[in-house]
């Protein structure tokens, strides 16, 4: 129950924050502020999405965009690794969250079988992606990139802790590494629960590690989509 409430709230909060940010960017410069009026407009804007979601064309365009982005960022065969990762991840997240939220028993039956199979592919593709992309998000690359973005005055994000606008590359790095660490924990907890070395309390521990890291993974994926993929 705690997981359901926390995960739903966090997902709603993060996505609202991200979409509100995008909505605000669409407004003329002087109107870019947090106000009741803007919030009402935002709600209307979001509600308008339902029509576009129902259109096949929207999905088609989104897919085109994703493929284009993937080809740009993952040249050659590596694009296929990205597709595998994305496809597995969509199923893993949907099946995992759906059963965690709406089915008391949790994931079971054929969806579980597929979840496990997709999990293996996800772990492999994530490892490859890590090999390919980790370098881009290492401190020595992030630092200069951040400096460059600051110089160009590229839209960043407001960090309340430091009370200043930070370059977007930082968010990208956070999203990437959270996604990787969560993926690592997901794979580790899956492996741990399958090995004959851990007793019942350990199994329970792995279960909790798995579902909370899955939440972290989904949150980081949402962030990554916003800051890395969608322009």
């Amino acid at each position: 129950m705690l997981f359901t409430v926390v995960s739903i709230l966090l997902l709603i909060a993060l996505n609202m924050r991200l979409t509100f940010g995008r909505f605000v960017l669409k407004l003329p410069e002087p109107e870019r502020k947090i106000s009741a009026e803007n919030f009402k407009k935002y709600i209307r804007w979001i509600a308008g999405w339902k029509f576009s979601f129902l259109k096949l064309k929207t999905w088609d365009r989104a897919l085109d965009y994703l493929i284009k982005w993937a080809r740009k960022n993952y040249p050659g065969w590596t694009a296929w690794v990205f597709y595998a990762l994305a496809l597995c991840y969509v199923y893993l997240a949907l099946s995992g969250m759906f059963f965690a939220w709406f089915v008391k028993r949790g994931l079971y039956g054929f969806p579980l079988l597929l979840h496990v199979a997709a999990g293996a592919l996800f772990a492999i593709s994530l490892t490859i992606i890590l090999f390919l992309k980790a370098r881009d998000f290492l401190p020595e690359k992030v630092g200069p990139e951040a400096a460059a973005q600051e110089k160009l005055g590229k839209a960043g994000f407001w960090c309340p802790l430091l009370k200043k606008n930070l370059p977007r590359i930082y968010l990208e790095a956070v999203a990437f590494w959270v996604f990787v660490v969560a993926g690592f924990l997901l794979a580790f907890s899956t492996l741990g629960s399958m090995l004959p070395y851990f007793n019942y309390p350990a199994q329970i521990f792995f279960f909790h590690v798995h579902r909370w890291s899955a939440l972290a993974s989904v949150l980081s994926a949402c962030l990554a989509i916003d800051v890395m993929i969608v322009e």
């Binding site: 496990v116 890590l130 980790a134 660490v181 794979a187 899956t190 492996l191 399958m194 090995l195 019942y200």
Partner: protein, 814 residues
Amino acid sequence: MKRQKTDRQKTRGISLKAVWPMGLALVGLAVFIFITISVSRLLEARSQAGPGQEIKLKAEQKKEWTGNQLSPLHRIPLNDEFNQKIVPAAPNALPFSARYSCEPCHSYTTISQGTHFNYKNRPAVDRRTEPWFLVDDKTGVQLPVSFQKYPGFWSPEKLGLSDWKFVTLFARNLNGGGPGEPADEDQTPDSRWNVSGKLEINCLGCHHRSPLQDHSEWVKQVMRENFRWAATAASGLGEVVGMASRLPSTWSIADGPNPDDHEWAVVPQVRYNPNLFDSKNNAVLALPRPEDDRCLACHSVAPRQARSRAEVDRDVHLLAGLKCVDCHRNDLGHEMVRGYEGEKLSHSTLQVQDFTCAGCHLGQKPEKGGKGFAGRLGAPRPAHRGIPRVHFERLACTVCHSGLMPKKEPQPVYTSRANRLGIFGKAVWTSDYPWIVEPVFVREADKKVYPERMVWPAFWAEIRDGEPVPVDSQEILAAAPEVFNLKEKVASLLNSLIPLAEEGLYPGVIISEYLFEPNVDGGLKTRLLEKSPVARKDKRNEFLLVQVKQEEVKHLIPDFNPDEPPAGIEDKILSMLQNLRTLSNGRQPVFLIGRYVYRITEGYLDKAEKAGEPAPAPEICWLEGEEFKPLLSDFQVRNLETIGSGPEILTEEQVALALKKMAEAKPERKYAYVASGFVFSLDKNGKLKAGEHRAARAITWPLAHNVRPAQQALGKNGCTDCHSPNSKVFFGKIEASSPLKTAHRDSRLGADLMKTGPLFQFLFGFTFLVRPAFKLVLAGCVLLMGIILVAVVLKLAGRLSGLENGPGKNSGEE
């Protein structure tokens, strides 16, 4: 002054006038909350407590136990049912009454609420337990009877079984009380309680630690309807002779013995053993907590395949030194702890959850307060390494740890109560039916899977409004006796041929590859021959009369020259024909040899010339009119061959014939036979057809013992103990077994009963073939990701600590 006050009020910002109503409101609110909580708690307590709760609480306050660990030697006077002290040496002393002998110290009324005595009033929440079985191995009946209301269980009331009938049928494994002591208004006209006496609770049956205590004696006495004498005889305190069942129904205990009859209708009498009484006529009894043997008299289970007791492992708890009553405890109310999760006791003060598997092995669950301590009664705490949690949520502990090891098919077992185990005597008491199998794994209403025992009901039924309602098997037997007495008839015929057999050998008959011999119970025992002299699949309905002594088999019918018969042979033939005449049923038994016919004429052996062709071989026949008919009819030979050496009793032909006879006897009614998971009835053409009905479905009940050691639990060898494409647990075939030999048998897979879906389990099992590779790949991924992450963390830590400078800075410095 007034001004000052106003100023102060202004400074405080609040006036007393305003505080007063606020205080009142607060007090009112507090009173309201207090009253609401009190009333709600009171109502909650009332709703939880059933009627009589107040009385129960008072009883609980009274402490029954002084703290003494010893079980005292009982040196007590025994009283009879008239509450008179028994003087063992007195002539015509009556049997002791538990009610009046134990009552002075232990409340008989309280004890009579116990699990073993209050069958009729078992709580509705009580988990299914093994039913009683109404068995008739002539008509092929195995009908589950129970006071518990579960689908497939027939209540005695529905079957028209009065308390009297119920007790006479099942008293062998009843401890008395309950239906054995019906109130006067519950006594039915068919009962003979005034003759037999009530079947009081047999306290000594469980508590008497004496080598003289004898369950078999109890059974013999109750079968003789010596209800009031049974406890005395079984305890060994006295010897009981006589049979109440032979006494007229007008007899009562006040009539005393019948001096004119010392042989047949002998009134039961007790001869007490004076050595078991002291000089004050007090019985000296050791009555501690029950020993295991006492429990096992009614609660043992044995696989049928086991040829000796040495092959069967006992429960691991018993081997560890525990006794049955260490876990299955009770207080004075005698409501036994059964030990399953979720059990609720009505009359006991014991904490049931302490005696479940988890209660001893895991301790109390943390959410129930504290961490709890495992290891009660020395129970080891299980690690259950590598077993996913779903197993603990969806499976009972017993699934992996109890019952027989799963094989490709569940194995047939005997249970004490169903198959009459543990009764010793000249006769063989153990019955083949009901045919119980274990283990089958069934998902119950709580969504958990339990290992269970299973039986397919078999009974003759009248179809009323589309529902099969069991019919008394005696009614069926009366309608078609020749159909059901098949084996007995053949056994009688074979016994009639004894004069022809050599000394020490007994007649038998070979049909197809089976040898049938009469047994001591008047039936037939069957042996499968390695090589049969009548091996003729093409020639049906043939038989060969033989004489047998263990492995020695010879031809029975003597072949001799009838013109010069050897000395003594004709005497043997005469004797044999005389025997057969008693079974002739209007026909004449004859012995054919060559051109001659031996028959009995006016009490003498008559040898006459046979009309027509000479007999090719000597033969015993029936003469019907002018026609010679074989000794065994085609019907007998055909059906014996069909049954063969299998455990079945009936053939489809017998069932069809019986249904036909019953339809002829009562054409207005519609009859059927339920067996093997189907309802068999006659179609318009008089042919047997099988249909489905819920009344024919198998019944199951959870099993708990024998518990196997942890090393022999399912899963000990890994997941593939259960999860594989050819798993015995999921794909073991559970095929109906019944007294009827038929091809129509209900058949299911284990996965069906567990409601997990065979396809899913097949695919899931299949994944375990690739799982080692899966784990290896996953481990590789985890390792690589881990190395990279560690490297990144180290790099970041180096940067943050200043041990490693960024490339920009380094290059700047350069």
